[in-house]
């Protein structure tokens, strides 16, 4: 039951499609009251997937091919339109002020890979694919907060008014979707998207509707925040869900993984929020401070150091990291565009390294500390050995021991 990211109430006259607001719960870990996730969307949401009843006679093969051609042409026309009118937007690499928020990317986790640093240590990286991201809609603060279930302060907070930018990922066959769903893409001149995600962006970094987003929106060495739904474990007991210790296997009857007592006699009730067995996982979680070590521009793939919430194949929202020391100093605002294409200077190669011609390799950018597989094995020198011996902490102790 793959669930797309659309599950939010929409009221108001214009059937403006709004994805769920995915701002991380601001800073403090709020005590989750009531249900932590809604598995069944509310019934008044208009359906997304078109339910096509099968008629008794089929289209002939010729018409089917014609239908496919037309759909392909439409997608091509839409993305071509989106590409050429994104040229004239003024895109620049500037220093990002403290209170400004850039747009993020809707990515898919496709697996985990080990990479090695130049001093031989192994880093386990998550591989995230940026699958044809386009900006679908940009709505002003007062119009979006009125049409959604959140309060005014979410739109007008201490960082200034926040615009809501909806980003779509993954072109899909439009015949699968209802007209209401497709209308938002036609309005933005963008091919029909399978997944949607939205970001709160400040005024100074606003992209325009229909703008394609690229993996180079983020830079190598920058830190990002990944928000996504965790793996759906289903109904799990206290030991797996909350890490309770359970009971011993011997000398206990019928209780080895139970949660034991649930409170004291005096309360005569069970406190709300008591940790009990129940549905585990499939909740929104945010992991921030993930360092980007490698970006493959040809395949639009980002390697992020560490793990991200969610199963393989699930979609995630990548945003700039907001932790003070890991914050992005300067980057392409509002987003990357081909006009910013800079010619990387030839990185200095040690003489005996065989130079592999550019056309045989992917167009990739590496972090400086990452080992390139095109270079020969690592050989340590005495310099490395000396740097390894850290501060000698035992001297103080020895002095104390001497009588």
């Amino acid at each position: 039951m793959l669930r797309s990211l659309i599950s939010s109430a929409t009221t108001g006259p214009t059937q403006e499609w709004a994805g769920r607001i995915l701002l991380a719960n601001s800073g403090y870990i709020s005590q989750q009251r009531g249900r932590r996730r809604t598995l069944t969307p509310v019934p008044w949401l208009p359906p997304i997937k078109e339910h096509i009843p099968k008629n008794s006679f089929d289209l002939s093969q010729k018409t089917k091919n014609l239908l496919d051609d037309v759909i392909k042409k439409e997608t091509l026309a839409a993305s071509a339109l989106a590409r050429n009118d994104s040229q004239e937007t003024n895109v620049a690499i500037i220093d990002i002020p403290h209170s400004s928020r850039r747009v993020g990317l809707v990515v898919r986790k496709i697996g985990m890979l080990p990479q090695w640093t130049n001093d031989g240590n192994r880093i386990l990286c998550t591989v995230l694919e940026v699958d044809e991201n386009h900006v679908v809609s940009v709505t002003s603060p007062d119009s979006w907060y009125k049409a959604s279930a959140v309060g005014k302060r979410k739109a007008f907070n201490r960082h200034g008014p926040m615009w809501r930018v909806t980003v779509g990922a993954g072109n899909d066959d439009p015949t699968k979707y209802t007209l209401a769903y497709r209308r938002q893409f036609a309005r933005a001149g963008v091919p029909t998207k399978e997944k949607l995600g939205c970001f709160l962006v400040t005024e100074d970094a606003l992209p325009h509707a229909g703008q394609p987003l690229d993996a180079r929106h983020f830079a190598v060495g920058q830190h990002v925040t990944a928000t996504g739904k965790t793996i759906d474990w289903g109904f799990q007991g206290g030991m797996h869900r909350w890490g309770m210790r359970g009971q011993p296997t011997r000398r206990t009857t019928k209780s080895h993984r139970r949660i034991g007592s649930v409170g004291s006699v005096g309360d005569a009730r069970i406190w709300p929020g008591k940790r009990m067995p129940g549905h585990m996982g499939y909740e929104w979680r945010t992991v921030s401070g993930l360092e980007i070590v490698r970006i493959n521009n040809d395949k639009q793939v980002i390697y992020v150091k560490g793990s991200v919430p969610g199963d393989i194949g699930e979609t995630l929202l990548l945003k700039d990291c907001l932790q003070d020391e890991k914050r992005l100093k300067s980057g392409p605002v509002p987003t990357w565009a081909p006009t910013l294409e800079t010619i990387q200077e030839e990185s200095e190669l040690s003489p005996e390294e065989i130079v592999v011609p550019k056309n045989l390799l992917f167009n990739e950018t590496f972090s400086s500390k990452l080992f390139r597989f095109t270079s020969p094995s690592i050989v340590f020198t005495d310099a490395d050995a000396k740097r390894a011996t850290g501060r000698d902490k035992t001297k103080a102790k020895i002095a104390k021991v001497k009588k």
Binding site: P114, I231, V356, S377
Partner: protein, 288 residues
């Protein structure tokens, strides 16, 4: 706790059930023979290149991720010659070591395990030094490895020799200065049928239950307590008859043919660019 695996079924080619109103006839007349003639392919590919197989977990089989991983692996194989070796072959690994004066560390041992796929691929070497058993685990694609040599290319009766931990030390002692025995190209890989004698129990694992062919009888040596309790132990060797469970974790011929053609293409590019004359896709048994 059972973790629900992938929700999506691996997207197979067009056909689902044939109960649609027109059951498309199976693709006729793809000559079975034509599959064999695809030039330069190695039938024993999964044994020689276990790291190029797909992950046994269906959810982790993603074409794009595998392509990127394969690109790194092939680049690495251009810089270091990773020889053909099996579980049971005697292998020497020289890796650069930060702490040693000579900055180089060499270990010789019999390969007892090869695990995992892709860049994560690991193999374990075992040797006995001054009658202390030592096992060292190596990541095949770790850049600190400088050289891997196969001193003796052979196979054993099992594809996992973890029982050497409990075997007599003589079965896992190999001289560090042993000179390599060249394997005549084109001849099939020798299978060393020696049966190993185990030390007295207690063992690290219950070898008498698992059906290893490389151990001579473990039943007589097993402790009587375990024998009395045997009827209680959960013995599920009927699992090997489950064809589709085996299918889910094994690799298919189409995937192997695809990977080998990718390797050949990579090899051809590099040879054309004149960067190297090294051959990546090679097999000692069918060397032409």
């Amino acid at each position: 706790m059972f973790r629900p695996a992938a929700r999506e079924v691996v997207k197979l080619p067009t056909r689902y059930f044939s109960c649609k109103s027109e059951p498309t006839r199976a693709v006729t007349a793809t000559k079975k023979a034509s599959r064999e003639e695809i030039a330069g392919l190695i039938p024993a590919f999964p044994e020689i290149y276990p790291d190029f197989l797909q992950s046994p977990v269906w959810n982790r089989r993603n074409a794009l991720k595998e392509e990127l991983e394969r690109q790194d692996m092939l680049e690495r194989r251009m810089n270091i010659d990773i020889p053909e070796f099996y579980v049971g072959s005697i292998v020497a690994v020289t890796s650069s070591d930060k702490n040693l004066g000579s900055k180089e560390h060499r270990f010789v041992g019999i390969c007892i395990r090869r695990e995992k796929e892709g860049l994560l691929h690991q193999f374990t070497l075992r040797n006995t030094i001054e009658n202390i058993g030592v096992e060292v685990l190596y990541d095949l694609y770790n850049p600190t490895i400088k050289k891997i040599e196969t001193l003796k290319l052979e196979k054993r009766l099992d594809s996992d020799l973890s029982y050497l931990v409990d075997a007599l030390p003589e079965y896992s002692t190999f001289d560090f200065h042993m000179e390599p025995q060249a394997h005549p190209a084109g001849t099939p890989i020798p299978v060393n049928e020696c049966k190993v004698k185990l030390k007295n129990p207690p063992w690290t694992r219950r070898w008498e239950i698992s059906s290893y062919r490389g151990i001579d009888d473990t039943w007589t040596q097993a402790t009587p307590w375990y024998k009395r309790k045997l009827h209680k132990t959960l013995v599920n060797d009927y699992e090997k008859y489950d064809l589709i469970a085996n299918y889910r974790t094994s690799s298919t011929k189409e995937q192997e043919v695809f990977v080998q053609t990718q390797m050949q293409k990579f090899e051809k590019e590099r040879h054309a660019a004149g960067l190297t004359r090294r051959r990546i896709l090679k097999s000692a048994a069918s060397y032409k």
